[in-house]
């Protein structure tokens, strides 16, 4: 796997977890470093025990967040845990009650009530995430007990790397009030870049391809840049991200990764099978002329009820191939999760008046069962 793909696949690489990869990436070659700085406009950060590529997207999508989190409160707790860890160095120890007390005192606009089960569960999700990311370690105790008992005590220690979890911004984040504002100011500080305008275009186009994985008509300027610079981009990507193949259509461009990579679409889940089956149905309906794509954007605008009835057909026809959990789900439940996943992946967007806009990239991968003769007999 190329160094760049490794940096993309991992939020960060820690010496204590994988020292071999850590040292390999710490000594990242000059060309890749230049590609990261010049074409992606991203920061490559190394410390004595961690390397990290800051992955700023062109257009943030839901799947790019912390999917372990279920509520906005989880994120708010994470921020306060990070604040709490700010003055803790490696191996500094603290108690769960220190954190709950800190959050109680500092939570915006209200005092957190730890006698509420949902608050305790939320904090456990956050602490588990921090542990998974190796920002904290458990020295003693079981944090799961906190769900049942608000008096449960756990001894943690900080690893000191929480300070690198948040990106480094050129000005204080208190001056922003939305992600749009932050992204818009990305290029306010173009330290030493000679031709800012064209550089920004290039950087945004590369970010769209490399970090987001695809660029569609919604980022018209970037898509146009990609089309014009097709040859250059192809050769640059071949050099630095050889696992990727680069595809352009009139309405969008995307990267496909051939190597085994952690986070892919499709993945090996039953829900993914359902998405692929519905995509196949939609595509054949489009080919038959039942639906038509928007002439320039190639999006499909479809009413929720139509989409649901397509899913219903798919469910009827194929649910015997699904695992028990999915076979037993009601149409409503399956449709709810289907639509949620579709939006999370950035393949669709809910519109007003019950319409869904489906992006063309969703139709590029379809699924079909390969039923052998014997299997067919047993149906």
């Amino acid at each position: 796997m190329s160094d760049l793909l490794k940096l993309l696949e991992n939020f960060w690489i820690l010496k204590e977890e994988d020292s071999e990869t850590f040292y390999q990436l710490k000594n990242l070659d000059k060309e890749t470093r230049e590609f990261i700085a010049k074409n992606l406009g991203l920061k490559f950060i190394t410390t004595s025990n961690m390397v990290k590529l800051e992955k700023v997207p062109l257009m943030p999508k839901e799947y790019m967040g912390v999917l372990d989190f279920e509520q906005p409160r989880d994120y708010a707790f994470l921020c306060l845990v990070l604040a709490f860890l700010e003055d803790k160095g490696p191996e500094d120890q603290f108690l769960l009650s220190n954190i709950t007390e800190y959050i109680r005192m500092n939570f915006p606009d209200e005092e957190v009530d730890w006698t509420l089960y949902s608050n305790r569960r939320s904090l456990i999700r956050v602490l588990k995430f921090c542990e998974k990311m190796r920002m904290i370690r458990i020295d003693d105790g079981n944090q799961e007990e906190f769900a049942e008992n608000s008096e449960a005590e756990v001894l943690y220690e900080s690893t000191g790397i929480s300070r690198y979890f948040m990106r480094i911004f050129p000005k204080s984040i208190t001056e922003y009030s939305s992600w749009q504002e932050i992204l818009n100011s990305e290029f306010e500080f173009t330290n030493g870049i000679s031709q800012p305008i064209s550089d920004i275009k290039r950087i945004r186009a590369y970010r769209g391809l490399v970090v987001d994985g695809s660029v569609n008509f919604e980022n018209e300027d970037e898509l146009l840049y990609i089309k014009r610079q097709k040859v250059n981009i192809t050769s640059e990507l071949e050099k630095h991200l050889p696992e990727a193949s680069f595809h352009i259509f009139k309405s969008f461009a995307f990267l496909a990764i051939s190597e085994s990579y952690k986070n892919t679409y499709p993945d090996d889940s039953n829900l993914c099978d359902i998405l692929l089956l519905v995509a196949s149905e939609l595509l054949s309906k489009i080919e038959k002329g039942e639906y038509s794509l928007h002439p320039t954007n190639e999006t499909l605008e479809i009413h929720v009820t139509s989409l649901r009835s397509i899913l219903e057909d798919v469910q009827k026809q194929y649910k015997n191939f699904w695992n028990k959990e999915w076979r037993e789900k009601s149409l409503e439940k399956v449709f709810e999760e289907f639509l949620k996943f579709l939006c999370e992946l950035g393949f669709a967007k809910l519109q007003e008046h019950g319409f869904v806009v489906i992006y063309p990239i969703y139709l590029k991968v379809v699924g079909e069962y390969q039923v052998s003769d014997e299997a067919e007999e047993s149906i």
Partner: protein, 487 residues
């Protein structure tokens, strides 16, 4: 080592004054005597002592009688000695008071000096000065020339050696303990420390290098020094020590043992593997590492402008006002994308055109497989490469065990039998294995070994017994036979 004698273990009443209920009074008296002694005023009258004590805060209730009693106790315990003042008295009252002069005994003086040093230990000279090591190296080299005129030089040589060694012991260990003390560590996490850091590391490195350079040379000198030279040298030193007026009353044997063991200790300090010298080097390395990591931590945190607490609090507010799908997006922007997602698949290579529709090229078809039990695909043979690492490991272990068993079996078989009577001397492991088989065989007609070999047990006729010889002893047992049978 000096010969160990019982009287050493008797109670030392000279130390009593430190632990008695009235310790405060006794200690005040002796400290006063000691401080006067330091100014060469060795003898004090009861009045001088009493009037000084009365000036102290806790002594308002203190009476002359109490003072007299305390002085008497201290004399009894051997900390003070009293001598009659022989000077003429001016008044009758004075004469009646039977004036005594009080003076610290030599042991009393030493105890007080020791206590005084303990209390003021921060004033000691802790340092890592390589000159002491150099000195010892130089002294070892000069042994031959000392031996040319031992009468004159041996004692001086010995004094220099022992004092250089004492310096090493004292100043180095104190320096190390100072650097590793908690007060010093708390200094190291202050930002100001960065200014001293390089100086300190340089100092440590410098010493470390010097020491590491000298150590093997000193060792070689010690190890190559012929014993007769050592004996000769020490002999002169011992002789001189014995004759020294200060040692008139000391036993000659004790002096000799004392000097010899000091020599041995100095040698061991440098020479013995994992000895003190190596430990010192190790400790210095550890300190250098620690100092560097503290410094790295400090410089990293200062580049991050240390406190972003307010920013986190602001972010917490932003997050709590959004819905979860917008939270994920904000997270991607402020923390970065957790893990980018890519499409995988074997897509037909697009033409040169950048204006083709997605419908112009076929989509990538993913072959799906059944996930339920309702429809089973043909059972595929799983190739070995799909074994998980864990399974592979267990399988390897199993294979190894079977091979070992077969090997063992081949070694013990005579024909198709293992006869306990005819076995050679065996190890307890082999015995254990045989007994496992035996017990299996005794409980059923035909039994299996772990590798699947079938056998049955033949019970001895007439209860014949045999001696099983093992590496850990002999065992008397029935002369069983294990007969292996084919399928």
């Amino acid at each position: 080592m000096t010969q160990f004698t019982i009287p050493l273990l008797a109670q030392m009443k000279q130390f009593k004054y430190l632990t008695e209920p009235n310790a405060e009074r006794y200690r005040a008296i002796l400290r006063f005597c000691f401080l006067n002694h330091m100014q060469y005023k060795n003898r004090l009258t009861k009045d001088e002592i009493y009037s000084f004590l009365k000036t102290l805060p806790n002594f308002s209730e203190y009476t002359e009688e109490m003072c007299e009693q305390d002085l008497k106790s201290l004399v009894d315990w051997g900390n003070l000695k009293s001598t009659q003042d022989t000077s003429k008295t001016a008044t009758l009252q004075e004469f009646k008071n039977k004036r005594f002069l009080y003076e610290l005994t030599s042991i009393g003086l030493r105890i007080e000096r020791f206590l005084f040093e303990l209390e003021n230990s921060q004033e000691t000279k802790a340092e890592l000065n390589p000159k002491h090591i150099e000195k010892i190296y130089g002294l070892l080299i000069s042994i031959d020339s000392v031996l040319k005129d031992p009468q004159k030089q041996a004692v001086d040589w010995w004094d220099e050696l022992t004092s250089a060694f004492e310096e090493i012991e004292k100043s180095y260990t104190e320096y190390i303990s100072m650097l590793t003390s908690s007060e010093y560590e708390s200094l190291m996490i202050k930002e100001k420390f960065l200014e001293y850091k390089s100086k300190l590391v340089h100092y440590l490195y410098n010493f470390h290098d010097m020491f590491q350079g000298y150590l093997p040379r000193i060792r070689t000198l010690f190890l190559n020094l012929p014993q007769f030279k050592v004996d000769e040298l020490l002999m002169y030193i011992i002789q001189a020590e014995k004759e020294h007026p200060k040692n008139i009353f000391r036993d000659g044997g004790t002096i000799e043992g004392y000097i010899k063991s000091r020599w041995q200790n100095i040698k061991d300090w440098f020479v013995s593997p994992n000895g003190q010298a190596e430990r010192l080097l190790e400790q210095i390395q550890q300190i250098i590492r620690k100092v560097s990591s503290y410094a790295a931590r400090l410089s990293e945190s200062s580049t991050l402008k240390v406190n972003r607490t307010e920013e986190y609090k602001h972010l917490a507010r932003l997050f709590s006002n959004l819905d979860i799908s917008e939270c994920h997006k904000l997270s991607a922007v402020v923390f970065g994308v957790m893990c980018p997602k890519y499409i995988t698949g074997d897509f037909p290579r697009a033409t040169e055109s950048t204006t083709i529709s997605i419908l112009d090229l076929p989509s990538f078809k993913v072959p799906l497989k059944s996930r339920g039990r309702l429809i089973r695909e043909k059972i595929k043979v799983v190739p070995a490469s799909e074994f998980s690492e864990e399974k592979k490991k267990r399988f390897e272990e199993y294979k190894k065990k079977i091979e070992e068993e077969n090997e063992l079996l081949q070694g013990l078989l005579i024909g198709n039998k293992i006869e306990f009577e005819k076995l050679p001397r065996i190890t307890p492991e082999v015995r254990k294995r045989l007994f496992v088989w035996l017990s299996r065989g005794l409980s059923s007609k035909v039994a299996n070994t772990d590798s699947g070999k079938k056998f049955r047990v033949i019970r001895p006729q007439d209860d014949k017994r045999c001696i099983l010889e093992c590496t850990d002893g002999k065992m008397d047992m029935p002369a069983y036979i294990l007969e292996f049978v084919d399928e």
